[in-house]
Symmetry: C2
Subunit: 381 residues, 2 copies
C-alpha cells in the first residue's frame, strides 16, 4: 500500500426526504443563491419546480443552459451575467456536467481574468463560492468529489481541474429524481461509474485487499442493479443502489494507497473533445480495446477481476479473455453500440489525438504510440 | 435502503511518512498544543519522542495517564490541571481510549460544569477545542468518527457521546506505530473492528447490497491479515491493511441506510463497567452467544455471512450453525479465552446488568430479559 491522504468533507443527504434538507443547508451559507442547471430537462420532469418551492423566499438568480461536456464558453456567459449578483452559494441542479460547470463558476466569482486560466494552471483561485448540489443523474461522482472536467470547444481541449475547496458542501441525492432519466442516459451513467472503478482497480499495486474489495463491491452492485432499472425505471431500491454506487465510485475512497490508471478516461476525453459522443458511450467502446492492449501488463489483476466479478474459472488465458469479453457483453446488454462507426465517427482526428495522448503519458505505465494506435483503430472494427 | 446523511470531514493521513504531516496540520489551528496520551507505552516504544520532535518549538503541555475504558474521574483531573492553558488544539497520541478521553476534553474546555453532564445529556457543549490524532492501536475507529465512550467508575456507568464537532481534524495513521503492539492487544483490536462490522451488518434491512459488500470487504480483510501480524508483528502491509480496515469499520460508511444492531457492544459495555475485562476480550465471548440467541430473527443475513465470509455450503441450518462456529473459531485462533470464568468473572452482577440492558432496549429488535439471560449465562459455559 502506498502512502495516501484521504479527505472528503461533503455532506451526503440521501433518500426520499432528502429534498427537504435543501433549505437549511443553503441557509447555513446565506440567502443569495445562484441556481444553475442544464438544458431544461429539470423543467420537464418537475425537479425544477420542487427545488424552487424549497428555496422560496431566498434571493435567487438562475443560469440554465450548461451543456453536456460543459464548455468554458458557456460558463463565461454565466459569469458575465451574474458576477455582480455576488451569490452566497451556488446550487447546482443536474448531473456531472452541471456540477462540473458550477465548480468552475464557484472558482471564478472572485477572479477577474478568464476562468480557463485555472484549467491551464496559469493562476490559482484565491477564494471560492460554496457549492451545493441536487443530483439528477447517477454517473460522474462529481457530487462528492472536488474535480471538474471542462471543455474549450474553440480549441477542442478538455481539461481536469481539481481543488480541495471544490467539494460540494452538501449533496442532495434522492433516487426518485432519477426516475425519469432515459434508458440511454441511465446506461451511460452506469458505464461511467463502472469505468471509474476499473480505472482505480486495474492497477498493479499489491497489498491493497480492502480497496480491491471495495471496488469489486461497487462493480457487482452496478452489474446487479443495471438490468433492474432498465426494466423498471421507477424501481426505487435499484435506483438508490446505482446512485450510491456511482457516488462511491469516484469520491477518493477506492483509490487510496494505489497507483490508479485512467487511460480509458484520458482517451475518451480526447475523443469527446473532437467528436460529440456521450462520455459513457465512448468509454464502452474504448474499455475492452484498452484491456486487450494491456492484458499482459495487468494479467494478475484481470484474473482477479474475472474470477471475483464474472465468476470465471479455468486457465489464466481463459479467465483474462473471458473477463474482457464479459465486460464487452455487459456494455452491449445495456444497449451500447460497440463500434465508433455506429456513431458516425471516422479516424480523421486519430493522429492528433494519439500525439496528444503520447504527450500526456497516460496510464499506470504510460501507453506508447503503438498501443494507442491499436486501441483507437480497435474501436473501428 | 433507508434515508441517511453521511458526513465525515476527518483528514486521514496514512503511511510511512505520515508523521511528517503532524506539524503543518497542527499549525493550521495554532501553536498551543495539549498533548494527551495513555499509561506510558508511547514512552517505551519511541512514539512519544518522535511526536515531540515533530512539534518542537510549539507551546506544548502534556497530560498522560488516560486509562483503557477512559474514566471521567481522570479527565476531570486533566481539565483542572490545564483549563487555564487554553490550547489551540489537542493532540491525542494513542488508541481509542486516549482519543475518546480527548474528545471529552475537547468538549469541556469551554464549560464550567462537570464533563459528565454531556454524557447524561444535561447540557450540550457550546464550543470545542479542535482535535488531532496520532493513532498507535488499530481497533476502535475513534480516529475517524465523532463518538466517544466514557466510564464513570464511581457508579459503574459507561456511556456514549456523539457530536459532529468531534471528528478529528486530522488523524495520522502510520502502520509502523503499531509494530510494538502486543499479540493480545493486537487481537483485541481485530475483534473490536470485526465486531463493529458485525453490529452494522447483521441487521435485517433489505436492499443495501453495496453496504453489505463493503462490510464483507472489511471482514475478509481482517480475517486474512490477522494471522499475518500475529506471526510477524512488523509485517508492514498486514499492519496497514488492519489499520485501514479498523478505521473503515466505524467511520459511518458501512452503516448508511441500514438499521444496525449494536447489542453485543451494549452488553460488553455493561460488562466492562462492572468487570475490568478488555473490550475485545469481552466481545469475543459475547458475540457467538448473541448469534445463537438471534439466529432465527437474522437467519437470512447469517446465511449470507456464512456463505460469503466463511465459504459455507449446504442446508440453511448447516450454514447458520457453521457461521456461528466459524466466528467462535476465528476468535479462538487469535488466542482468545472463550469463557468469562477464564477471566475470573462470576455472575454476581448479571441481574443488575440484565435490568439495565432491558431498560436500554438494545438490539435491532430489542432483546428481552430471557434473551439477555441466555446470552450472559451462555458466556459462563
Amino acid at each position: 500500500m502506498k502512502d495516501f491522504i484521504f479527505y472528503n468533507p461533503t455532506k451526503l443527504i440521501f433518500g426520499k426526504k432528502a429534498m427537504e434538507q435543501i433549505r437549511p443547508n443553503i441557509e447555513a451559507f446565506g440567502r443569495r443563491v445562484l441556481l444553475t442547471y442544464g438544458q431544461g430537462s429539470i423543467k420537464k420532469n418537475g425537479i425544477y419546480d420542487k427545488v424552487v418551492k424549497e428555496i422560496q423566499g431566498l434571493k435567487v438568480e438562475e443560469f440554465g443552459g450548461i451543456e453536456s461536456n460543459p464548455r468554458v464558453e458557456t460558463l463565461r456567459q454565466a459569469l458575465a451575467q451574474y458576477k455582480s449578483f455576488n451569490p452566497d452559494i451556488i446550487l447546482a441542479v443536474g448531473g456531472g456536467s452541471v456540477i462540473d460547470g458550477s465548480k468552475l463558476l464557484a472558482s471564478s466569482f472572485y477572479y477577474y481574468g478568464d476562468p480557463w486560466d485555472f484549467l491551464v494552471k496559469k493562476v490559482e483561485p484565491k477564494k471560492y463560492v460554496p457549492l451545493g448540489v441536487v443530483l439528477t443523474l447517477s454517473a460522474t461522482g462529481s457530487e462528492m468529489n472536488c474535480g471538474a472536467v471542462i471543455t474549450k470547444w474553440e480549441t477542442h481541449e478538455k481539461k481536469v481541474f481539481v481543488k480541495d475547496e471544490l467539494y460540494p458542501k452538501f449533496s442532495i441525492l434522492d433516487p426518485q429524481n432519477t426516475f425519469s432519466v432515459s434508458k440511454n442516459q441511465t446506461a451511460y451513467g452506469i458505464i461511467d461509474a463502472f469505468s471509474h472503478v476499473l480505472e482505480q482497480y486495474l492497477h498493479t499495486t499489491v497489498d491493497v485487499p480492502l480497496q480491491d474489495r471495495f471496488s469489486e463491491s461497487i462493480l457487482l452492485t452496478l452489474i446487479e442493479n443495471a438490468p433492474l432499472v432498465l426494466k423498471n425505471p421507477e424501481d426505487y431500491h435499484a435506483r438508490a443502489n446505482l446512485m450510491l454506487s456511482a457516488t462511491m465510485a469516484l469520491n477518493n475512497l477506492i483509490s487510496i494507497g494505489t497507483n490508479e490508471d485512467w487511460a480509458c478516461h484520458s482517451i475518451e476525453h480526447e475523443m469527446s473533445a473532437f467528436y460529440d459522443i456521450p462520455h459513457g458511450a465512448g468509454l464502452a467502446i474504448i474499455t475492452p480495446r484498452w484491456m486487450r492492449v494491456v492484458k499482459n501488463q495487468k494479467k494478475k489483476k484481470l484474473i482477479q477481476y474475472g474470477q471475483r466479478i464474472w465468476g470465471l474459472k479455468g486457465t489464466e488465458k481463459r479467465i483474462v479473455d473471458g473477463a474482457i469479453q464479459a465486460t464487452d457483453n455487459f456494455f452491449k446488454s445495456l444497449g451500447m453500440k460497440m463500434l465508433l462507426k455506429d456513431w458516425g465517427i471516422g479516424s480523421e482526428h486519430f493522429e492528433t489525438m494519439t500525439n496528444r495522448l503520447v504527450g500526456q503519458r497516460i496510464g499506470e505505465k504510460a501507453l506508447d504510440k503503438k498501443q494507442i494506435d491499436l486501441i483507437l483503430n480497435g474501436c473501428m472494427v
